[in-house]
């Protein structure tokens, strides 16, 4: 086990933890020390206590988005509600996990056109954000939005529809191939799983969604999932899921399938689902082992360490997240991911205690974030947002630069839609350009910007230190806000 050495714990590592396990610190700032107070608080804890603190969340009832209307602003209100939660919550890890789960169980309003359904699914993710993942998969299987999205309601006795049965295995639990490049399941397993899942449907009654499984719609025959299929799969004998005919109660038959999926062992006799899910979690919170690690196998042994924790703790997300955030590798600087639009926008607003208002606020879901390529509740398809360099195109970069410009230039008055109070962070007594630049870099979590870049940032402030004029409001308005604009557009700032 390669956990981080408490002696190596630092302000920088605490900042990294808050950034990756959430959306960054909350922007409260100590002008004397030049530190974000929340980062300093976490830095003063030992790493295990810091991680434990992140995972301790109030369980009080969370206020929902209110009445959602159909119509032109269908989803704008729901999107804004969630973005607002991400910006203001005191438990950002929970919202970050909801984002992960939404990305994972990618369900889109392009087909699920009623906000109530997408909001209900979102609440399910929030309930299980750090909970029992196996139980979450069960509940997601009979979630109305998911039944709508992947045609669960069309899957009935005698007229099977395989859509969910396939994606459940391919995308949500096992993956097509194991780490040995062998198939985890065969076409037969998809059809048998589909039979297990027949009969579910939903309806509305007085504005509430009712999910049900009338018995006549359900295939009550005997099913065998994960028998070896010559030419396709070699299954461990223990993988077999046998559902006897007339299994009762019908409403619980799908749980037999899900339990069986989580018991599946791959061709290396390792727990398939645990490996698959942990790899996705690591990719989301740390880096993609295939993209960043020179030797994928080394990092895959890390995945297996974490998968063991996941299994040993009955698929508790809290347990595996704890183990992840304690790993040395989580804090390694050279291996990173590209911030998605939500992380970029929400993180910037949090760390600058920025304002999001006016029409930008109303339209944040379908304007700002959609233009950057990530409209919440509307991933492009069930394969979801591809992440990393797919976020970066000429057009999306211009959108990010536009947001950066608005946030840098605007203040928090009524006149601005987007803005921040630069004076909250500025030490007007600083005498060097380096001090000013370094403070803003640290504030925004940039600890390893190279010298050439630092030089450019300093030169922007002036040709030499005598050009600094921090008590002059015009200089602050133009040069200092301009410095922030530059920092928010740095290549380094799009990576975390």
């Amino acid at each position: 086990m390669a956990d981080i050495n408490p002696a190596d714990w630092s302000y920088e590592k605490a900042a990294h933890l808050l950034l990756r396990a959430g959306f960054g610190h909350n922007g409260r700032y100590n002008k004397f020390t030049g530190e974000a107070t929340q980062v300093r608080f976490f830095a003063n804890l030992t790493p295990d206590k810091a991680v434990a603190k992140l995972l301790t969340m109030a369980t009080s009832k969370i206020r929902g988005p209110g009445t959602l209307v159909s119509g032109d602003d269908k989803f704008a209100k729901l999107q804004l509600w969630w973005v607002n939660r991400m910006i203001t919550t005191i438990h950002p890890l929970r919202e970050k996990m909801v984002l992960f789960l939404h990305t994972h169980f990618a369900t889109a309003r392009s087909k699920v056109v009623e906000p109530l359904y997408m909001s209900t699914q979102n609440a399910l993710f929030r309930e299980f954000a750090v909970g029992d993942f196996r139980e979450l998969v069960k509940q997601a299987t009979v979630d109305a939005a998911m039944l709508w999205w992947l045609d669960g309601t069309l899957n009935k006795n005698g007229k099977p529809n395989e859509n969910y049965a396939r994606e459940l295995q391919e995308l949500f639990t096992l993956g097509v191939f194991d780490f040995n490049n062998q198939h985890n399941y065969a076409q037969k397993d998809v059809t048998e799983a589909a039979r297990v899942l027949t009969g579910w449907r939903f309806r509305e009654d007085k504005g509430k969604i009712i999910v049900e499984i009338p018995s006549y719609r359900h295939d009550t025959g005997e099913k065998f999932v994960y028998q070896s299929q010559p030419g396709e799969t070699t299954q461990n004998a223990a993988n077999l899921i046998h559902v006897p005919a007339h299994y009762s109660p019908i409403e619980e038959e799908y749980t037999v399938l899900i339990d069986g999926i989580f018991n599946h062992l791959d061709t290396e006799n390792r727990p398939t689902a645990a490996r698959y899910i942990v790899r996705k979690l690591w990719k989301f919170f740390a880096y993609d082992p295939e993209v960043n690690a020179g030797t994928a196998r080394t990092d895959l042994s890390l995945i297996d360490d974490l998968a063991d924790v996941f299994v040993a703790n009955n698929y508790s997300l809290a347990a595996v997240l704890n183990a992840m955030f304690m790993r040395e590798e989580f804090y390694a600087d050279t291996t990173r991911t590209i911030k998605g639009p939500v992380e970029y926008v929400v993180g910037s607003l949090r760390m600058l205690r920025g304002k999001l208002g006016g029409s930008t606020r109303e339209n944040v879901g379908q304007g700002t974030l959609a233009n950057m390529g990530q409209e919440l509740f509307n991933p492009p398809d069930v394969f979801s947002w591809r992440g990393n360099l797919s976020w970066i195109t000429t057009q999306t970069m211009l959108q990010r630069y536009g947001f950066a410009g608005d946030l840098a230039a605007g203040d928090k008055s009524r006149n601005s839609d987007v803005g921040h109070n630069v004076n909250s962070f500025l030490d007007t007594k600083a005498t060097t350009r380096a001090a000013v630049v370094d403070r803003f870099l640290t504030l925004l979590g940039l600890f390893h910007v190279d010298d050439a870049t630092r030089t450019q940032l300093m030169l922007w402030l002036g040709p030499d230190d005598s050009a600094l004029d921090l008590t002059n409001p015009d200089y602050v308005q133009v040069q200092v806000r301009g410095l922030l604009n530059l920092i928010l557009t740095l290549p380094d700032y799009h990576v975390h």
Partner: protein, 490 residues
């Protein structure tokens, strides 16, 4: 899902590196003159007719032939409602329906397109749609955007996948432009597409706090230096971001400087003389203005002008969801709702708008030595409309959501095209049968030609990707043989 990623941007970005001398606040920005290979080639203009066009009143049955279409038409669309009298169709008659040989005519206001038909530059594709039609705007639009009637494939757009294939070697090329500020899903993919409402919107964003021109320039300087440093000295993601950001900056400047000259040209010609000038076609018809911008952008891509690199475009015209007050041709009782339209005719005025805009655009194109051989325009709409008019067969009648409608393709005919393939004008597909026994359960016409056929021919025969590649972009759909008789490019 593995995800291949393109290599870094090629050389050709004229950005001076390491300009660390701050006394130079001003800097002449040199635009990148080198284009990516995928940014050169023929042009394609996609006209998106939004809302579901009533194709039955755009390409109108004039006689029954061996079928029943004119009779059926007159039975369910009445003179007080949206019926267009047979007697008004002589001047815009085109070819016959390939299925039943009944005569067909364009809407009486489409005199310009009729002239294009006569000159062999217009292909009229009849009965275009897909199996198991969906009557929701959003869902059916998504099907047309993704070329995926089953909606189980990837969420990329058909043109997104096409430009990804064309531009596979470049991370930063911008081969396409959407003339609306929000990028349309048909372009969704990995290749950059500029989307703007107006060309003047396309500026490199710099904080509003920096108002002084010298400081703006200094800001751009700093940005460029930082990004060049990432390209030259960083690795991995930082280097890739450096490359894309640099191109974004340079491209935007290129379009911006083009805009200055284009604006002069655009303004001059918006009020110009001639058939499409003083009469105010471009002033009065938004589609015509947008197509004029497209024309200017295409000209900008030619040698001698600032090469911009964009050659695939989308423009749109809305207002086609004519559930009520669709209007007819002779019912002048109600005032027009369409600017510069005809009293009593809502849909008819839209037909006029499309006709004037497309004709003006084609006249522009024909007047340009290069563009006349390299430009194809195609229309699409998410569905057609119900065969029978709704309501009380009066001036308030309209049509509900339907299915198959005709689509247009305009292009250079034999002898005009700059490449090996050219358009063969005529009527293709089959006009759906409109009599009640031959409608579907919703009272809608049954489609005769899968829209992927049109997409496939455009991708393969016009844009030059191979047959198998085109088929793969269309999710395996075999457009070439479905059916071969509908091939409009030769």
């Amino acid at each position: 899902m593995t995800f291949t990623r393109r290599q870094f941007m090629k050389a050709g970005v004229a950005v001076s590196a390491a300009s660390a001398f701050p006394s130079i606040w001003w800097r002449v920005r040199e635009a990148a003159a080198t284009l990516d290979p995928c940014e050169t080639g023929v042009n394609l203009v996609i006209v998106h007719v939004e809302g579901g066009n009533d194709g039955i009143n755009m390409v109108i049955p004039k006689s029954d032939g061996t079928g029943q279409n004119r009779t059926a038409y007159d039975t369910v669309r009445l003179p007080g409602g949206i019926n267009i009298a047979q007697s008004s169709l002589a001047a815009t008659q085109i070819g016959n329906d390939p299925l039943h040989n009944g005569e067909l005519a364009l809407h009486p206001h489409m005199v310009g397109l009729k002239a294009l038909y006569d000159s062999g530059n217009l292909a009229v594709m009849c009965g275009v749609h897909y199996p198991n039609p969906n009557l929701s705007h959003d869902v059916s639009s998504t099907i047309w955007y993704r070329a995926d009637p089953s909606l189980v494939g990837p969420g990329s757009g058909w043109m997104g996948r096409t430009v990804d294939t064309l531009c596979s070697a470049s991370s930063s090329a911008v081969p396409a432009v959407d003339t609306e500020g929000q990028l349309n899903p048909l372009f969704y993919g990995n290749t950059s597409v500029f989307a703007f409402d107006s060309l003047s919107d396309l500026v490199f964003p710099v904080s509003d706090a920096i108002t002084n021109a010298g400081l703006k320039s200094a800001y751009r300087n700093s940005f460029s230096n930082i990004y060049s440093n990432a390209v030259n000295n960083a690795a991995g993601f930082l280097k890739s971001i450096g490359a894309t950001g640099s191109t974004a900056s340079d491209k935007v400047d290129l379009y911006g400087s083009a805009n200055e000259s284009l604006a002069t040209n655009l303004n001059g010609l918006l009020h110009g003389s001639g058939a499409f000038g003083v009469s105010g076609v471009r002033q009065n018809f938004t589609l015509a203005r947008n197509l004029r911008t497209v024309f200017a952008l295409m000209k900008g891509a030619q040698p001698g002008n600032q090469p911009l690199g964009c050659r695939i475009f989308r423009v749109s015209i809305g207002g086609f969801d004519t559930h009520t007050d669709q209007g007819s041709y002779t019912n002048t009782a109600i005032a027009t709702k369409v600017q510069n339209g005809f009293p009593g005719e809502y849909h008819g005025s839209l037909m006029h708008h499309i006709d004037r805009a497309l004709s003006a655009f084609w006249a522009d194109v024909q007047g340009d030595a290069v563009l006349k051989g390299t430009t194809v325009l195609m229309t699409f709409s998410e569905f057609g409309r119900r065969v029978e008019e709704n309501g009380d067969h009066d001036q308030h009648s309209g049509t509900d959501h339907g299915t198959a409608a005709p689509q247009f393709v305009i292009g250079p005919k034999a002898g005009e095209s700059a490449i090996a393939t050219h358009l063969v004008g005529g009527v293709y597909g089959a006009y759906p049968e409109l009599d009640t026994p031959n409608l579907d359960d919703d009272g809608n016409a049954v489609f005769q030609l899968d829209f992927r056929h049109i997409y496939g021919e455009i991708i393969n025969r016009w844009l030059g990707l191979s047959g198998p590649t085109a088929k793969s972009i269309l999710g395996g759909y075999d457009y070439l043989t479905d059916p071969a008789s509908a091939n409009f490019l030769a």
